[in-house]
């Protein structure tokens, strides 16, 4: 008789509340039900009641991990309606922020992943490295989380000392190359716990409409930074990472290589940082009638914003579709027949973000 084992909403392996009810037979998981909605704060509703300036702050709080990408995508959509051009320097800074965010998010994920297979030392190692990323973020934006860097038409703060940031980036690169990536790709216990686990076939990945590293680890060649380049990705030359072994190991590798690519992008952007203003002189408070969509590649995949303006300073409709919203259901396709002991890692391998999902 299968028994039910709830993972969550409060669970040591989860940063955020969502509920995974596992039906197990012995140690084998037969099925899983996913329940979300614990963190629903009605952000889309609130956004329609506030003006564009306040909305940028509000959407930053959709998710604390990928706050920047939400604000910048919203800004992109509004800029499209309003016909506001973003200065080159601001585009580069937005790219740097986006990649730093990806770096810290992937490192956070790697740390939690290590913790999920009980590798406490690895967690500590990664968090130690992540603090360096946090330092850069703090140096640029003044905040460790929720940076408030995006303003309509540009960014709020300039990067004043690219050299020191480059030096820090170099350190992170070394840390990644010497410690994190080798351990994640070569350590025997980690390979034993990741290889062949939680397979999501390409067909399933397409059926669930998965996005981001999860999809790319299942062989779907899709990265918004390449397909629909925004910010400065076109100038910097971007290479996406795709693997087709479909298991947790593939997701680990995809994220690891993406981190390396992020570092490269950051360094490239810092070296080629154009001079000029960081935002237009004049940004209108009211946006003309119209609607627009914007997409960008968040650490977890594609973020999609739809903004409809009615000519006032308040949007008529803001629709946010986040990557975890489509990724979380695909857990069901991965867990069947897996061991209970692998469940935390499998659910972590999609890097679920519930505050994104629930909004």
């Amino acid at each position: 008789m299968p028994y039910k084992l709830p993972l969550g909403p409060l669970h040591p392996a989860f940063e955020e509340p969502y509920k995974l009810t596992l039906s197990c037979k012995g140690e084998i998981v037969e099925d899983a039900q996913v329940e979300v909605g614990f963190v629903m704060r009605s952000i889309e509703l609130l956004a329609q009641r506030r003006n564009y300036i306040r909305d940028l702050v509000l959407v930053e709080h959709v998710c604390g991990i990928c706050s920047n990408v939400h604000a910048s995508t919203m800004a992109m959509a509004v800029e499209k309606i309003g016909g506001i051009t973003v200065p080159d320097r601001a585009r580069y800074i937005r790219t740097i922020m986006g990649e730093l965010e990806r770096l810290h998010s992937h490192l956070l994920w790697a740390g939690i992943g290590a913790e999920d297979i009980g590798y406490h030392s690895m967690f500590m190692e990664i968090y130690f490295l992540r603090e360096r990323v946090m330092d850069i973020l703090e140096a640029i934006s003044g905040n460790r989380v929720n940076y408030g860097m995006i303003s309509l038409g540009g960014v709020t703060r300039d990067i004043t000392d690219p050299k020191s940031i480059l030096a820090m980036a170099e350190e992170i690169k070394k840390g990644l190359e010497k410690v994190v990536i080798p351990i994640f790709t070569q350590d025997k216990t980690i390979i034993a716990r990741t290889k062949g686990i939680g397979t999501l076939s390409k067909d399933d990945a397409l059926m669930y409409g998965t996005v981001g590293p999860l999809a790319r680890a299942s062989g779907i060649e899709e990265d918004i930074r390449e397909s629909f380049p925004y910010a400065a990705y076109d100038d910097l030359g971007f290479k996406k990472v795709v693997l087709d072994s479909c298991d947790v190991q593939a997701r680990v590798v995809v994220r690891a290589l993406e981190m390396m690519e992020s570092i490269r992008l950051i360094e490239e952007a810092l070296k080629n940082l154009p001079s000029g203003p960081i935002r237009p002189e004049q940004v209108p408070l009211t946006i003309p009638d119209g609607e627009a969509t914007a997409r960008s590649e968040a650490p977890r995949g594609e973020v999609f914003y739809y903004v409809k303006s009615n000519g006032t300073d308040t949007p008529a409709r803001v629709k946010i579709r986040t990557p975890s919203f489509v990724n979380i259901p695909s857990i069901r396709a991965m867990v069947k027949g897996q061991y209970l002991a692998d469940m935390p890692l499998i659910q972590a391998s999609i890097d679920p973000c519930c505050s994104c999902t629930d909004r």
Binding site: L10, E16, V39, M40, L45, G64, G111
Partner: protein, 156 residues
């Protein structure tokens, strides 16, 4: 003799705060700042703080987020499951005021309305140093018997 023991227990309450974390609708900004508190740079274990997995083992409850309607009962239930004496720390601005979510129809907006809070840590999110300081303060409150759970018991 009993005095020595009660003194010992009081000291040990300060020395050994075990922490449990609830995300009650946070944007997870506060939560990702709790984890670094126990990582090498900040290392909460120096003051004896350990992150626990079960509320039954807990002394200090960290609560983040504006408390959504869906998590309200959960928070109450978990608070009851924590054996006294216990302290509650509200992390960030959300449990205090609702922060940017103020006015949302799906949040309670104040932790106080659900469970008695002992300490507020302002910030969006608060920094790890602030969180650790709050833990330390809460453990001192536990030692002195100043938490609301302890005071309410003594009133009864």
């Amino acid at each position: 003799m009993s005095n020595i023991f009660s003194r010992l227990i009081q000291t040990s309450r300060r020395r050994s705060p075990w922490v449990y974390r609830i995300n009650a609708g946070s944007c997870n900004g506060c939560d990702i700042e709790v984890a670094p508190c126990f990582s090498p740079r900040y290392d909460g274990e120096q003051i004896g703080a350990v992150l626990q997995g079960s509320p039954k083992h807990t002394d200090i409850l960290l609560i983040s987020g504006p408390i959504t309607l869906r998590t309200q009962e959960m928070v109450k239930d978990v608070y009851q499951q924590i054996p006294s004496p216990k302290a509650v720390i509200a992390l960030g601005s959300c449990p205090a005021s609702g922060n940017v979510f103020h006015g949302s129809p799906t949040i309670v907006g104040s932790a106080e309305a659900v469970i008695p809070v002992d300490l507020y840590v302002p910030g969006c999110p608060p920094r790890p140093q602030a969180i650790l300081e709050a833990i330390q303060k809460a453990s001192v409150m536990l030692e002195k018997g100043e938490t609301r759970s302890q005071r309410e018991v003594s009133h009864e």
